[in-house]
């Protein structure tokens, strides 16, 4: 899924650079990529969501 996320990010960057009039789509891709990143981090830490130290 990390691979997919980088493809989404690349698409957004391409729009910003080469198709600046598609700003809304590019920003939506940015939001999707952020959400996917957060989801993957959540999966990686779901066994202990908060740091494993004295809180």
């Amino acid at each position: 899924m990390e691979f997919l996320n980088f493809l989404i990010i690349l698409s957004a960057a391409w729009l910003v650079w080469r198709r600046p009039e598609r700003e809304r789509l590019a920003f939506r891709l940015l939001v999707v990529a952020c959400a996917l990143m957060a989801l993957l981090f959540f999966i990686g830490t779901h066994g202990s969501l908060v740091p494993g130290v004295n809180l």
Partner: protein, 490 residues
């Protein structure tokens, strides 16, 4: 901002994006591909966060500092800082040189992630300080030469990341791993899996440890994990002759003077004479001073020194002192009779008994060591005997007792760690430990590191302490009653 200032800020922003791409993000790719340092699933998320921050930078270069871009950058900085904190917590407390992954300038990548995301937040703050209302308006702008270079570099670096991600984590639905293998272009070495999806969701994981509660255990000796134990009868009952400020947590007896030390769950420490009917000294510890004390559950004599232990393995050493300085001791005690000085307040650190509470304290004069016995929890079902040197208070040794020949478990699914030891004392080289669960007395050979004998003691009512009185054992109960037993012969 005036136009020249605006241009300068945009140029600086472009350079920030370039540095971010060429620095941590580009270095990460180089480390992965050339050095074989493949990122784990958490590293991937943090690297992705940096890439997304750089992408937000491109948005600002192209469209100006619109509020939603800055908002997104703040969110990414905040979440990135959280990710770095969570990731670093896995490694920060390890020993020297035991960090995870590569160190750059002596600092590991998970800490660099922390620094970078925190810096992003600071940069956003500066940018907001420089921003004027009309700067956020307007349509797309030409990014300029440096901006175009930043955009081109972004595409190249992110494409390289995508390539590495494809090799290391695979196409969807595969995700990253906790322990990734080194980078290879040989498909036979590629590991694509979803192992990270296994396991249940937990807020605190192995730190989900309930406070120990002896009043909730099963006291029936017939239900204990050890089979066919002999019975040790209660010979009689006594009672502490003084009122206490809380439930009795443990008891100790000085074999020389006969004085008795009692502690309560409300931080009361009582030094009683040998009749247990007169208080020689009394203090109430301030549980919030210096280090946190949980309810007191252990007591031991170390010569003239009084040692008390709280359930979180914090300990306090006290000494009767006719010259006690009231002004100094005020910080230690919520109440005092004025005749006690606090010598030390610190914590015992364990290895095998880590993340476990204790409910007992003993002192072995022959070895000059303190002894604790851990209390099992649903997360950590271990009964660990830990020994701490009197000279430096550090862990000397630790073991999980074996069973001596003749002692057997009732079944393959039973274990010694079902006992909840709430009182312990050393005599004749043996550790006598009473368990509130299943009302059982364990006799542990400290040299052989095994349970030498065990006895059921019908009539106990979830005891909380144990002391040796010559050939007798005094088993303390929360209400101050003491069951008197003949101490089993060594």
């Amino acid at each position: 901002m005036t136009a020249p200032v605006q241009d300068r800020v945009r140029a600086i922003l472009a350079w920030v994006v370039i540095v971010l791409l060429a620095g941590p993000i580009g270095t990460a790719v180089w480390l992965g591909v050339a050095q074989g340092e493949s990122p784990c699933i958490l590293c991937w998320a943090q690297r992705t966060s940096m890439v997304l921050i750089a992408l937000v930078g491109l948005f600002v270069l192209r469209y100006g500092p619109r509020p939603r871009y800055l908002g997104m950058a703040v969110l990414l900085g905040a979440f990135g800082t959280w990710m770095a904190l969570r990731h670093s917590s896995l490694h920060l407390l390890r020993d020297v040189g035991q960090g995870f992954s590569v160190a750059i300038f002596g600092v590991h990548t998970y800490v660099w992630s922390w620094v970078i995301h925190w810096t992003v937040l600071a940069v956003i703050g500066v940018l907001l300080l420089l921003l004027r209302e009309h700067d956020a308006a307007g349509g797309a702008r030409e990014p300029g030469r440096v901006g175009r270079f930043a955009m081109g570099l972004f595409v190249v670096v992110v494409a390289a990341n995508a390539l590495q991600a494809f090799v290391s984590t695979g196409p969807p639905p595969f995700i990253g791993q906790s322990d990734p293998v080194r980078f290879s272009l040989n498909p036979r070495h590629w590991v694509w899996e979803n192992g990270e999806l296994a396991g249940r969701i937990s807020l605190r994981g192995s730190w989900t440890i309930p406070r120990p509660d002896p009043s909730a255990v099963d006291p029936d000796p017939a239900h204990g994990p050890l089979a066919d134990l002999p019975v040790l009868a209660v010979k009689g009952w006594e009672r502490l002759g003084v009122p206490l400020d809380g439930a009795l947590g443990d008891l100790a007896r000085d074999p020389v003077s006969g004085r008795v030390l009692a502690v309560t769950d409300r931080y009361g420490v009582y030094l009683l004479d040998s009749t247990m009917a007169r208080v020689a000294h009394h203090v109430t510890l301030d549980p919030g001073f210096s280090i946190d004390l949980t309810p007191l559950a252990g007591a031991a004599f170390v010569g003239d020194t009084l040692a008390v232990l709280s359930t979180n393995k914090s300990h306090v050493l006290l000494r009767p002192d006719t010259a006690a300085d009231a002004a100094v001791e005020w910080r230690h005690f919520l109440a005092t009779d004025g005749g006690v000085t606090e010598l030390r307040r610190s914590r015992f650190a364990t290895m095998r008994a880590r993340q476990q509470y204790v409910l007992s304290l003993a002192f072995d004069p022959a070895a000059n060591e303190f002894i604790t016995v851990s209390v099992p929890s649903p997360r950590h079902r271990r009964l660990v005997v830990s020994r701490f040197s009197r000279s430096d208070f550090l862990l000397s040794s630790e073991f999980l007792p074996e069973l001596a020949p003749g002692l057997t478990l009732r079944g393959a699914d039973r274990r010694l760690a079902e006992y909840v030891v709430t009182g312990a004392a050393v005599a004749d080289g043996l550790l006598y430990a009473v368990s509130a669960a299943y009302s059982t007395l364990l006799v542990i050979d400290l040299q052989a590191r095994r349970v030498r004998a065990a006895y059921t003691v019908p009539g106990l009512e979830r005891p909380t302490g144990l002391a040796v009185r010559g050939a007798q054992l005094l088993i303390a109960h929360p209400d101050g009653r003491l069951a008197v037993l003949d101490r089993p012969a060594p």
